[in-house]
Amino acid sequence: MVIGVRVDAERCCGSGNCAFTLPEVFDQDPSDGRVVLLQNRPHSGVLDLVREAADLCPSGAIELTE
C-alpha cells in the first residue's frame, strides 16, 4: 500500500514531533522550525510511523491520503 503525505506549513507550530518520529520523511526548516516534507510517497516499511507522526502532530499540519 502507498500513502500520500501532505503538510500544511501554515498550521505547523514546529513541535518537532514528526521529525523526531520519522526523520527520513519529515524535517524542520532551520530558519523557523516549520515542517519540511522530504518524501511525499514514503515506502511501505514506514507507514506505521507516518501514521504515528500524523496522529502526534499537535496542530493537524500533516494530512494522509490513502
Partner: protein, 419 residues
Amino acid sequence: MADETQAAAHQEAHREAQAVQAADREPTFPRERTCPFAPPAEYARWQAEQPVAEVVLPSGQDAWLLTRHQDVRAMLDDPRFSADSAHPGFPRMYRQAVPQVLKGTFLRMDGADHLRYRRMLGKEFTAKGAKEMRPLVERTVDGLLDRMAEQGSPADLVTALAYPVPSTTICGVLGVPYEDRARFEDSTRVMISGRSTPEEVVRAKEEILGYLTGLVAAKEREPGDDLISRLLEEQVATGELDRDEVPVLAWLLLAAGHDTTASMIGLGALLLMEHADQLAALRSDPGLVAGAVEELLRHQTIMQIGMNRVALEDVRIGDRTVRAGEGVVAQLMAANRDPEVFADPDRFDITRSARGHVAFGYGPHQCLGQMLARVELQVTLARLFERFPKLRTVRPVAEIPFRHHMFGLYGVTELMVEW
C-alpha cells in the same frame, strides 16, 4: 457586529454572576491526591461518568473540566478556544487579580499572533537541534554524577542532579552565564511553587526580568552564540520583535525549561527505583530509555491543574454545549490515564507505546522545548542508573516529601538516595 455585542453582554452578565457566586461557593476542582503516584481518584470517575464535568474553581468561577484524551486533544487544537488569560471568562485559579500580561507572552496569544513567536523561536528547539545538544547534556550529566561519586553516598538527587541538569542546559541555550544561575533560580522557584502569594510572585518576576534586561543589554554590546543574541540580531534588528520583549521571552523559556524537567527527573528516578522489574529491563536494554521516558511523562504528568482556555463561541463537546465566554480546563493527568487510549492506564510499563500522551499539552501551544526535555530526561536517567547500578532510596515512599499542593508542578522536593 451584532454577535460581538451579544458576546460582550453575555460576558458581562457572566462576570457579574460569577462575582456573586465567588463569595460563598466551595471549589470542586482541583482535588487532592490520595496516592503519590496517581492523579486524584475523582478524575477517573469524572472521566467515566462525566467527561465534560461542571466544576467550581478556587477563584469561584465555574468551568468545564475535560478528562478524556480525545476531548482534551480536540479542545486544545480548536481555534474556537482562546489561551488569552485577559479574557473575562478565562478560567482563573485564584481570586486575586491577575497580574498584567507582559508584551511578548506568546503562550497567552492565539492564532497567527502566537505562531509568529513560535517561528521566531522554533529554530532553537527543533528535533535535530535537540539531538545535536546531546553531547553537551551528556557532559553536564557526567560531571554532576562525578561530583556525586566524589562526595559519596548518600545524596539528595533533587539538588545534586534534577535541578542542575535543566538549569545548566537552558542557561546554555539562552546564553546566561553559569555563575549567574543562583540569581534567578530562587525567584523561579517562588513563581512556580503554587504556594507563593501574588505579591511574592510579582516581586520574583520583577527580579528575574530586571536581571534578564541587564543581560540583554550586555548581549547587545557583546553578542555570543546563543538564543538571546540571535533574537537581537535576527528579530529585533529587523523590526520583527520589540527589544523589550526579549527579556520576557528569555524569562518564559527559563521558567518553562527549568522546574519542569527537574520535576520529571526526580519523579522519574523515584518511579524507576520503585519498580525494580522495569528498572532491570531498562538496565539490560538501554535502547528502552526513549520509550521509558515517554511512559514516565504519561504516567507522571507534572502539570497538575491542566491547560486552561476560554470558548470564543458556542462549542459542542460530547453531549454538552460550552457557551461563548465560558472557561474550560483540559486535565492532562486524567487524559494520560484514559483507558480508551492506554490499556490498564495505571500500570507503569516502559515497553508500552506511550507517545500519544499529552504531557506536553496539545495544539499549537504544545511545549516548544519538548525535544530538548526528552534528550535531558533520556540522558540523565540512563546515565544515573548506569553509573550507580545499586541506586536506591534512603527512605520509604511514605517519608519522601512530595509537593502536595495541587496548583504548581508536581514533584519531589527532596530525594535522598544511596548507592
